[in-house]
Amino acid sequence: MLISLNWIKKYVDINVSNEELIRLIGARLVEVEEAIDETHKYDGIFAVKVISAEKIPDTHLTLCKIDDGGKAEKVERDEKGYIQVMCGAPNVHEGMLATWIAPGAIVPSTYHDKEPFEIGMRKMLKKYDSYGMLAGADELAIGDDHSGIVELDPATTTPGDDFAKLFELDDVILDIENKSLTHRPDTFGILGFAREVAGILGQPFKTNDWYLRDAADFANDSNIKLNIEIDEKLCPRYTAVVLSLKANNAPKYLTLQDTLLARSGMRPIDPVVDLTNILMLISGQPLHAFDYDKFVKVGKSKNPKIIVRAAKKGEKLTLLDGKEAELNVDDIVITSNNVPVALAGAMGGANTEIDANTKRVILESATFSLYNLRKTQMAHGIFSEAITRFTKGQPAGQTLPVALRFAEQAKAFGYEPLAVFDSQKTTPVVEKVELSLVQLNNLLGTNFDAKSVQKILQNVEFEVEIKGDKVVTKVPFWRTDIHISEDVIEELGRLTGYDNIAPVLPLHATSDPNEMLALKTALREHLSARGANEVLTYSFIHGDLIKKVGEIPENSYKIVNSISPDLQYIRQSIVPSLLDKSYANLRAGHEKFALFEMNQVYPRTNGTDEDGVPQNSHKLGFVIVDQSGKSDYYLAKKYLLSILDSYGVDYKISPFVEAKDKTNAYCEPKRSAHVETKDGRLIGYVGEIKQRVLRELKLPTPTAAFEVDLSVLLELKGASAKDFSFSQFPSVARDLTLTLPLSCKAGEIEAKIRNTLTQRRLINRVVCTSIYQAKGADTKNVSFHLDFARTDKTLEKAEIQAIMKTLEKIK
């Protein structure tokens, strides 16, 4: 939203600098995205009189002499002091007052360009010197009209007048961030915005009387018949004024109003539309004008009736822009005896459009359900200034006064009001909100007294009554956002500036650690310290990836409004995302890497929690890839067991089983394992990826992965106390090689060795150092390095031999 500061200044006495004002608006009302400085945009532009205008034959050009009141420098003048300028506009004529951009000045329409266009002296048709430029509305950036030059009113203009002064154009335009005013329909009008500015500056604001009127000052013409029938849920209030065109007094000169429209991002079009727009900009109330006679004709009834209702599904209406809109039940239509004539809040219908033959108009001033209009906005893609205001929920209290203001001001261009009709028959009750000073100061941490509270609220036109500690406020009708005491407290804090509230730290108890986050932090350290890279990947994945890794697409929640097919399913596990990202990294030249991610997953098989919300699992996924073939099961397992060991988790390695929900179906069953607690609870699985999955994802063989349920890990963490016992007697180091059948499990042998030593009360450490199978042999040699010691005395030779003999028999 664009707000002209000069316009605001017409309503409020600003006693601070523009800079300070903008700072205060930012701190106390709304974020100012940009303050566009236009104070010098119209420098060097003057009102001039065209003294002579001589057509150059066979061209569209006119050679003019102009009187600039002697203002311009850097120009050549004739003996009378006039300046020569060539003009291409058809409407240039002797005696007119025009706008002239002097040499050295910037053409305003290029003022904000990277390279603003500076006008100078031009040689035209090889022989005529032309100084500066007689300007059209488009060049002056006050309209789109390129058909001719702007004509100024001789009654109010003297040659040499500064154009900027004439139209108050030395302005600063504020670009306001609308979003945080969603709840403040009143601030979408200059009037409401100015009221806030006054409040911020601590000044009392007085709303214009016309905005507070509740009755017309003219009697209805009994010949004009019009009934209004509304559904209050869709249209809380509908006011209509019928006016008749008595004289065609459309202004031919540029007006201040035209420039205000331009400064608000709109454009002058014709007198009726311009007045509806200007009143909308002032009050926030959008207006629409129908051709009354067309309206009656469309309805084919002797009793013309405005009926506001929900549109029917499939109902059609040709709009002002010529497009036929297909309506749906959430749209609201204005109808003439049930024949649609406008899509409420969005656009009028072509069947009741005002044209050159229009004699009478109906001026609509109404409010509609913002919920419905929001749907209309989305369904039909209409994002006008009007619907932007409607979707904030304009107050019903202003429809009549704004309509009457239109009736009053339309007289200037020849319209006389005939009758006014209003759906509202009784005056609504004024909302009262009560609060206590204690509540106020407790919530904000402030020291407001009753008197200052009264003044602050009265400045923005709340009626305030102080009853001891209680503050009773009557809420002005335009404050549709104020209902509870906290709303009023916000006003007090905001208008006086939150920045004046002292920041104070409260005292409270200490906190408990979050074990899951602590676990994730520790795992992050653990794996990255072992050369792995932590990644984050999207929670949403492509359906193809689910299929490629062998998961079941139906087990994924599906996003209905996804950005692309790549992001359509919510993932069930982490590893597939990591496999997916591995290929790109290989292609980027990384030959050896391990990726891991800790995140939540939502397989549908998890079901929902007590609130009916999908249940998550916290998972750690890990993938290791090595082009040289080392990224096998054993390496992935080494990473996984290093974690379990460091947390003192008691585990066992069990044969791999494919999960019912297939979330581990990418594992090659013959080269994968379950990691379980001693009592058989699954902690996770580790393994090499199936050949067909690797082929689909273009990854090398072998590629290995593991996935761990962090909730289970968290429960087990530290469950088995780590054995820190040691011996003060020297330990014995021995190597042991056992020849075993191929089917024999090395891990089980290692456990047996350990058990044997432990049973003999020996402190021990057992490490497998080699597994060797000679070519063609049907046995393997498994070697271990052993350290063991007694805790009560030094081991003797004989004892050592006996131990080794026992160990050598293990199979």
Binding site: L29, Y371, P513, E525, N533, A588, R671, R692
Partner: protein, 322 residues
């Protein structure tokens, strides 16, 4: 199950059938061709299945209990030098650590939620345009990958309500991953991280909120900071504010003023939000805030493209080796 060679022979025969099409009456060609295609697809699938099965059968099993493969060296971890933690997670850990040092409990946000937690419990009127501003994704069932960590407010209030009964304050920080359906560019991601703060007690004030936020950012940047606010609008806070800090020295701030960074949205918790969680708003009051983590990281490291965070590219990640 037929052997692969049988299947391939069958396929060859079938391919030969295609030659017959040109001799068919024109009206029968289409159906004939369609039938052939279906048969062909079926056989090709059978061949693929058989080949996969053969390949699966050829896989040699390994000793899952061993620490290494037969005749192989012991597996070795990758070089520690190249390991890295994700910068977003490192930052989240820092943020959480500071809140914990300030006496805040930590509750991680969920990544799939419902309309109630995302909107209803936060005082968003049904169908209110403010809901649009969040550009939420939705699942077929109407579940919502949350668009802000405020989705946890109701859970936080309910979970920690006992603290109020015990005469303590609720002080909780909620880190989490959030999602918005918007086009991705250098400064916009559909997936990003936020941290929420919720504070409720019998006596807390807006001044306390400003105090806590200033304290947090002063700890975070390790220096004294100037702060300011501007009015905002959130249905779940009243009053609602935006919180800004003056650019700290670590980010190139010169301390001369005028250079402000918008850090988060905040405000006093709306009484309806407390009520929805079973907390009496006439007895207790509170404040809440939420801000993005991605931006903190971008500012800290001077990063220009937010898309790197979820791209899992080693070239980017290795910039953050431990």
């Amino acid at each position: 199950m037929p052997s692969i060679s049988d299947l391939k022979a069958e396929l060859k025969q079938l391919n030969a059938e295609y030659a017959k099409i040109k001799d068919m009456p024109a009206e029968k060609r289409a159906d004939f061709g369609k039938e052939l295609n279906i048969k062909k697809q079926k056989i090709m699938q059978q061949i693929a299945d058989a080949e996969n099965a053969m390949q699966d059968a050829a896989v040699t099993p390994l000793d899952i209990t061993a620490s290494r493969d037969i005749n192989a060296d012991a597996p070795e971890f990758l070089t520690a030098d190249f390991g890295s933690k994700h910068p977003l997670m490192t930052e989240l850990d820092r943020v959480v650590g500071i809140y914990q040092s300030m006496g805040f409990d930590i509750m991680e946000s969920v990544q799939l939620d419902d309309e109630f937690h995302m909107f209803d419990s936060l005082n968003f009127a049904k169908g209110h345009p403010a809901r649009d501003g969040y550009d939420t994704f939705r699942t077929e069932e109407g579940f919502i990958p949350p668009a802000h960590t405020s989705t946890m407010q109701n859970r936080v209030l309910k979970t920690y309500k006992h603290k109020l009964d015990e005469g303590n304050a609720i002080a909780v920080a909620v880190p989490g991953r959030v999602y918005r359906n918007e086009d991705v560019d250098a400064t916009h991601e559909h997936t990003f991280y936020q941290c929420e703060g919720v504070y409720v007690s019998e006596t807390c004030t807006l001044g306390n909120m400003l105090g806590i936020l200033r304290e947090f950012f002063e700890k975070y940047y390790g220096q004294k900071l100037n702060i300011k606010t501007q009015p905002g609008y959130f249905p779940f806070t009243e009053p609602s504010l935006e919180f800004l800090i003056e650019k700290p020295a670590a980010l190139g701030g010169k301390g001369k003023g005028g250079d402000w960074l918008e850090m988060l949205g905040c405000g006093m918790i709306h009484p309806n939000v407390l009520k929805m969680a079973g907390i009496d708003p006439t007895k207790y009051r509170g404040f809440a805030w939420g801000g993005g983590i991605d931006r903190l990281v971008m500012l800290r490291y001077g990063l220009g493209d937010v898309r790197n965070f979820e791209a899992a590219k080693l070239d980017f990640l290795k910039e953050f080796t431990c």
